[in-house]
Each structure stands twice: as C-alpha cells, then as structure tokens.
Symmetry: C2
Subunit: 188 residues, 2 copies
C-alpha cells in the first residue's frame, strides 16, 4: 500500500506485484514470490500470512498514521476536519508511489477476493477513526458518520488519483472530492 | 436481507438463521439447513450458491428497488436527494423485520468472511447507484460521492436501527443520520 519497505519485506512486495502483473494473482504462489525475491518460502510466511496480505502490507501502518494525525489535530477542530487531518496524513504516506498504487488498484478490480479484503480493511480504518474521534469527545453517531465519510472520500480520491486524468497528487484528489461532497450535501 | 420470501427459499432463509444462531455460522452445513427446512440439499443449492449467500438472498432485489427509485426521482431533484429516494425505498423493503435484521447484524459482526461479503455487496450497490445517477446526467465524481455517501448513511442508519435504542424505524434512523451528516459537512 505504498512506499517501499527495506530488506526482504520490500523485495517480497515488489516481486509479488511483478508476478501478479505478469501471470495473474490466482496463478502465482508464495513459493514463486519468495524465489524471485531471493528468500525462502519460510521467510515469505514470516512477513505475510498469505499471498493476499502482500498487497496489504502497509495497512496497519496506514491506520497508525491516520489515527495519530486525528489525535494530534487541534482540540477545537471539527470532527470532519480532524478526520481529514488523518486522511491527508495517510495520503502523504501512500502518495509517493503512484505506479505501485495503479498496479494494485488494477489487481483489486480484477479479483473480488482482494477487493473484499480491501473493503474490510477500509471499514476497519473507518471504525478506528471513529474511535479516535470518540476520544476527542465526539458523540457516537457523528463520529461514525465523519469517519466513514472520510474513508469514503479517501477511497474515491484514490480512484481519481490512479485514474486517467488526476487533477494533481493524491492529497489534491482528496481535496477536490471533499469540496465536491460539501457542495453536494449542503442543506437544500 | 429482509421480508420473507414464500416457499422453500423463505423456509431455507429462516432455517439457516435459526441454525446459525443456535450453533454458529461455521458449525452449520447446507445439508442441515435443508433438513430443517424440509427440503433436499439439492434444493438448497438451487436457491443459494453457498451457506453465506442465504444471508444475502435479498441483495439483488434490494439493488433493483434502490435503482428504480433513483430512476423514478423527479429530474430536477439533486443527486443526493435522488440517491436517498433510493435508500428510503430500500429501507422500506428491509424495515419490516427488525428481528431478522438484528440477528443478521450479530452474525456479520462475529464472522469476518460474512462481513467481507456484505461490504462487497454494499460497495456494488454504491457503484450501481452511481451508475443510475450518471444516467440522470450527473458527472462521474459527484455521482460516486453522492452514491457512496448514500450507502454509508444507509449502513450507519441500519446499525442505529438494530442497536439498543433506535430513534424510530429504519427510515427514521436514515433521516437522523443524513441530517447529522449535512451538519457535519456544512462548509466551515
């Protein structure tokens, strides 16, 4: 989910992506990924539970970064602004490697089992962000609404960014989507 | 996902839910569900691809109802209002059986593989609703934002409704959540 990790873990992520693109996700085994990365299969499974997880290696780090930014937001900031402080911090983490993100997005679109895993992780990120808002004194319903809206805009901004004609970097795609959402939901 | 279907399909859904609650989802087989419903295992698989799908029997019908309501919304209605015409139509379809919905929600919360399936279906509902907005002339980005926001509010409204102290029926829970979201996203 973004920037390279050093050492065996990073090589495994790169090798996995190469093989998934060359042969397809279903046709690639953990053993083949390990071989290309120049490590043993045992090493593969020290870092990743299965070959799906190679594509989600950065998910827990992303969540940590998002939550830290929500916690660090000024106490008088609105729930939505605090959530987006988290989303922009997350975008900065992921936004450095558009090529990897594009390949990953194409793989997810082609493999429902990967998309299911992605949606579960995004939903968990939303619940965690709602928890971080609760700690700031936000009530349960607005916390969940703000958090899941944040994740939804993050995700749609991501799709714009890896699409054909992004208006700027990942953060800018999120900004554009948020401005559009505010206009759409402005009370009639 | 809601109101009873007549005949074998409805009996299979009821029997499955009884067994999932009694024994747990993982511990229940399609054969046992068929036996309790008084039909053959072959009949089970005529209606459902696997034992997960029994809990999603109404998903395609829900999607049809949502899309029809979006299509039927007055042409001058805003994208968000059109989407929520769809969501309220969906809520009417599901809202008749709170007990089933509560049991289903508890099962999903306890089984990540079911939750993954649910999130994939909700995401597909969002994409389909976005498609229906596109047909109304809404541009791609606002269509996706409005549609996924609609699904998100629908889903959070659902959680409120099956929770401990809902403020009213399913539709009312959606209305409360939508009003809250409009307040949260009002431009600063």
């Amino acid at each position: 989910m973004g920037r390279w990790k050093p050492g065996a873990e990073g090589r495994l992520m790169l090798s996995a992506m190469e093989l998934y693109v060359e042969r397809g996700f279903e046709q690639t085994t953990a053993a083949e990924i390990a071989e290309r990365a120049g490590v043993t299969e045992r090493t593969f499974f020290r870092y990743f539970a299965d070959k799906r997880e190679v594509l989600f290696g950065g998910a827990s780090e992303l969540q940590r970064i998002v939550l830290e930014a929500i916690e660090a937001a000024p106490t008088d900031e609105s729930p939505v602004d605090a959530v987006f402080a988290g989303m922009f911090a997350g975008a900065e983490r992921i936004g450095g490697n558009r090529e990897w993100s594009c390949q990953r997005a194409a793989l997810l679109a082609a493999n429902p089992s990967l998309m299911e895993r992605e949606l579960l992780k995004l939903s968990a990120l939303g619940e965690a962000a709602a928890g971080a808002l609760r700690l700031r004194g936000v009530a349960a319903l607005p916390a969940r609404l703000a958090a899941h809206t944040g994740v939804s805009v993050f995700s749609i901004g991501f799709d714009t960014w890896v699409g054909d004609d992004p208006p700027g970097d990942f953060a800018e795609c999120i900004r554009v989507a948020l401005a559009e959402l505010r206009e759409l939901t402005a009370a009639p």
